[in-house]
Symmetry: C2
Subunit: 268 residues, 2 copies
């Protein structure tokens, strides 16, 4: 996928955000993905390696191949992996729609925060399937920005999130893809599809998530598209600022924030 | 609370719906509420007894007092209990804002699908607190209609749900109260407040929930307010019918439906 199709993921601040996000959400999203020693894993769309580090730590004996289309991202992912002393990851540059692998090359395929950026997520899943050995598994994790709700509720805050969804749609992606994982993975021909929602629920009794998720992950991500929202005239500056202030307000001691990720597993 | 403040809960069809809802959601909402034998429990706002049956079955040795303001509801709750052969429940008519009990009468208080109907949920929680013995616990369960999202997404379906929220607000209630449980219970003076979201996630791999939740609980509940929505002109008949059709559509094999309940526990 060309870089200009990305709504987020490439600036330095964004890359910090993605790292924060990955560490805050690690157990919620990843703890139940552990691959056996010696198994061959394809991480399709590794980006700057935020999930790669977790994947490799949780399955230290697995042989992980992490693919991305962006040489720049791969370079940064490689630096991250080396810094962490991780040795079971090989990087490979390539396009998810022209995969540089033989059929049945992998025992398991892992796809995290990738389908949301693709105009043809179904075709991507279809293309990945032949790379699995018989009985091999697919794991997909995606967010869903339409799952966000919060207290105090606020129409400008809701509108600011809708802008993120609109921008991702204009770029050919789908920020509401989490809820669609079951039909997508099923339609792509996989068996035993099982989807589980993973809600991040944040109130003042969970200060790590107030900071790590509400502020540094979600609100930061919405704030990040501010210039584009104003440039495209999707909201007035005043309404946008009220929306961001209202999102920040949900991190106050009486605030609450909810967001749901979806994790699908299936067999070839 | 006067009967005309209720948006749902009193018609025969509604009472069937509430029974269906209670049975489908039993384990998700109730399995972690078990009271010791001999403990004294107040169920504040038992309605027609849909939750009372579950409460009494899960804590067969507890002594449960179930309060409601409506004599008619209490009579039907009593019939249900007798039909089930349950003997550890006593019914009491009374107002949650003028509670007919001595201080420190109960070990535990249970409040389920009640606060959403009240104009003063905080005051209700405050009034209940003195009835607890020192160290006694409060358990509150509420839904949140703003937590609903689905695939395929549809603006008329979303609007039809917003109508439900609007009508409940006009009646003095709050259909978005689930997300507010943490600040409400905290502000009412309780300690050790812990809230956990309970998402009902429904796709075709869970046919019991497709029927029991998407169709018979949620869509039926929205359909139930159709006459009032049309009477008040909140939506045109055409838009309303499109909205209901779109909600039904989420029960198709490629549809997905998500709704979140919230459960709060706290100590006096």
């Amino acid at each position: 996928m060309p870089e200009n199709r990305y709504i987020h993921g490439y600036s330095a601040r964004e890359s910090e955000r993605l790292t924060d996000q990955a560490e805050t959400l690690t157990s919620l999203l990843h703890d139940d993905t552990r691959y056996p020693a010696g198994s061959r894993i394809l991480e399709a769309g590794c980006g700057i390696g935020a999930q790669t580090v977790i994947l490799a730590r949780n399955s230290p004996g697995a042989l992980i191949t992490s693919l991305d289309i962006s040489e720049d991202s791969l370079q940064r992912a490689g630096e991250k992996i080396r810094k962490e002393g991780i040795t079971n990851v090989t990087f490979r540059q390539g396009d998810i729609f022209r995969l540089p692998f033989e059929p049945a090359s992998f025992d398991h395929i892992f796809v995290c925060f990738v389908l949301e950026h693709l105009a043809e997520p179904l075709r991507a899943l279809e293309q990945l399937r032949p790379l699995l050995k018989e009985g091999g598994t697919l794991t997909v994790i995606e967010g869903d920005h339409g799952s966000a709700f919060f207290h105090p509720d606020n129409p400008d805050a809701r509108r600011s999130i809708d802008c993120l969804v609109d921008l991702q749609q204009r770029a050919g992606g789908n920020a509401l893809i989490g809820r669609e994982l079951y039909p997508l993975v099923t339609d792509a021909g996989y068996a035993d599809v099982r989807v589980s929602p993973r809600m991040v629920y944040v109130d003042a009794s969970r200060p790590g998530l107030v900071e790590g998720f509400t502020r540094l992950t979600f609100t930061a991500m919405v704030e990040g598209v501010g210039p584009e929202v104003l440039k495209q005239g999707l909201m007035t500056r005043e309404a946008w600022e009220r929306g961001i202030a209202a999102l920040c307000r949900t991190a106050a001691p009486d605030g609450v924030f909810c967001y749901t990720f979806f994790k699908a597993t299936a067999r070839k």
